[in-house]
Structure formats: structure tokens, C-alpha cells
Assembly symmetry: C2
DNA sequence: CCCTAATTGAGATTTAATCTCAATTATCTA
DNA sequence: TAGATAATTGAGATTAAATCTCAATTAGGG
């Protein structure tokens, strides 16, 4: 299963960076990987605060940062000062409905290819990107009249 | 000149929303429009705090929000909890160098066309979008060896 | 098993952003 | 144009996410 693999990636990252492998870090990663879709750091803080061996807020923030640095999660956007993250699975972009707030994930290979071409024309070497299209989703559009 | 027009857009927006036209709002808009490129709210707060008729922090935040709602500026990203905005002129996207932090503005018509097509396939009506490509710029790449 | 450096927890601190509310001001109406 | 009324402002208090502090604990190398 995918979790095993992500675990190893994380442990490799920690080793490479000369950081220790601690139960706190691994437990926080486990909790993060349990999140379906988008999550807030506070979700994790509350869960870890209740766990058998409770983990402090500061440690959660610190670990989330290393998980982010390792490229295993990514920041999506803030909704009134609450940062929304998601577990990185396959790469995809977002359409965000400004009426219902729903987030539609999509991926289009042609778009990616074209982006790379544009980057080349600027002599810019891309490593990752985010694209957010704001608008009105099909559901909200039909319930509008 | 463009400023006149933006002024009118803003005043129309305020009227439409049933808000009053106040000297504070107009002065803050003027200051915002003076910003070349990207700016932080704190830049505006400091300027207005020193102006002849000083304007409070709360009012700056409140006005910036209306200017944003009017679509005259847009939020780019946060750099350690400082939100970066920019005056909306022509639409463009960003390449952000993760070494020097430099932001390259670009625009590609084919990319926009393709985005619209993807939206249609999801029955999503786009109103605006942001695209940020992270990577390494030409300058940093050459000074890397 | 010991040593040293890294990490953790708990609470204090920081700071952008928001809120409160009395005083002021813009806009509408007659 | 004055007077009524609702919106707005200023100053400082408040909120809350994120970071920091530092003594106590723990991981990892030898």
C-alpha cells in the first residue's frame, strides 16, 4: 500500500536532512496520511492532542513543516486564516467554486505540456506549480435562476 | 490616464454595494494605485499613518478589502505571514524562483485558451484564475555551478 | 551503555487581522 | 440647505495562528 512507500520517502528525507526519526514525527505523518482530501493543521493538532501519547501543538507545526518540505503535502489556500493542505498523490490542479466553495480537482496533460514550453521560453526550470481557477460550478449555475 | 478610470470603477463598485464614498477610501485607493508591482498592506498602513490626514490601520484593512472585492487588486501569496498583493492591470501569471524569490510575470494566450477548454469540459464557468510555477530562474541556474 | 546533539512539551510571545463602540461623516429627504 | 439616519472612522482592545523559549527528554553514533 501507498502508505508504506510514503513512510519511506519521509524517513529518507529526514535522514538526508540529518534529522532524527522520532515517534512524534511518524505519528503525525500517520495522522496526516489518514486525512481524506483537504485538511487543516488544527485538525491534526486536535487529533494528536487526544492520542494516547499526546503530542504538543508546537511539535505538530514543526513536523508538518518537515512533511511539507519533504513534498508529501502541499498548501492549497487559506480560508479565514486557516491554511488548507492536502496530501500529495497524483499532481492535479483546482477549480474553486466561489459560491459553494467546492473544490474540483482536475488534471490535463496538454496544459502541463504547454506550461513546460512557456517555462522553457523564459529559461525557467519548473519544479512544481499550482493553478487555481475560480468560478461557478455546474451545480451552482443551474440552481441560479 | 488609467488612474481616472480605476477610480470610477471603484466608485461605481461602492455605489452598487450601497457603500459610501469617503475620502479615506479614495485616499487609500490612490496610495494603492501608486504601488509599483507587488505591495504589502503594511506598506499602505505606514504611508497612510504619515499622511496629512492620517488614516487608521483598521480603515486601511477595511478599504483594502473593498478594493479587493472590486477586483482592482489581487492577492498573490504570503511571505512569512505578510500578504503580498498587486494592482490588477493586464492579467498575467507568475513564475517564482525558489532560490532568489524573484517573481517573473508572464502571459500566454494559448495557455488561457486551453484552460477555458478544460473548464468547459467540467461545465465550470471560470471568472479568474491564478497560476504559479515554482522553480529556478535563469540567473540562479547559471550561478549554481 | 554512554555521550552529545536534536527534539519535545508547556506555556509565553508575536503579530496580522479583526472587533468594539463612541464620535464623526456621507447621503437622503423635505 | 438643514436635519435625520445609517454608514464609517479611529484608537485601542482582542483574537488566534504560528513561533519561540528553555529545561527535560530522547535518538543515534561509537
Amino acid at each position: 500500500m501507498n502508505k508504506k512507500n510514503t513512510h519511506e520517502l519521509y524517513i529518507d528525507f529526514l535522514r538526508t536532512e540529518g534529522m532524527n526519526i522520532t515517534p512524534e514525527r511518524l505519528n503525525i505523518l500517520d495522522e496526516v496520511l489518514k486525512q481524506k482530501g483537504h485538511f487543516k493543521i488544527d485538525d491534526i493538532i486536535r487529533k494528536m492532542g487526544r492520542a494516547e501519547k499526546r503530542i504538543s501543538r508546537a511539535t505538530v507545526y514543526r513536523s508538518i513543516k518537515t512533511i511539507d518540505d519533504a513534498g508529501l503535502i502541499k498548501y492549497i489556500r487559506s480560508i479565514n486564516d486557516e491554511k488548507i493542505y492536502e496530501v500529495v498523490k497524483g499532481h492535479h490542479d483546482h477549480m474553486i467554486c466561489k459560491i459553494c466553495g467546492n473544490i474540483i480537482e482536475f488534471h490535463d496533460r496538454d496544459l502541463e505540456t504547454l506550461q513546460d514550453a512557456v517555462c522553457r521560453s523564459y529559461d525557467f526550470t519548473p519544479t512544481r506549480h499550482t493553478m487555481k481557477i475560480f468560478g461557478i460550478c455546474a451545480k451552482c449555475k443551474e440552481s441560479d435562476e
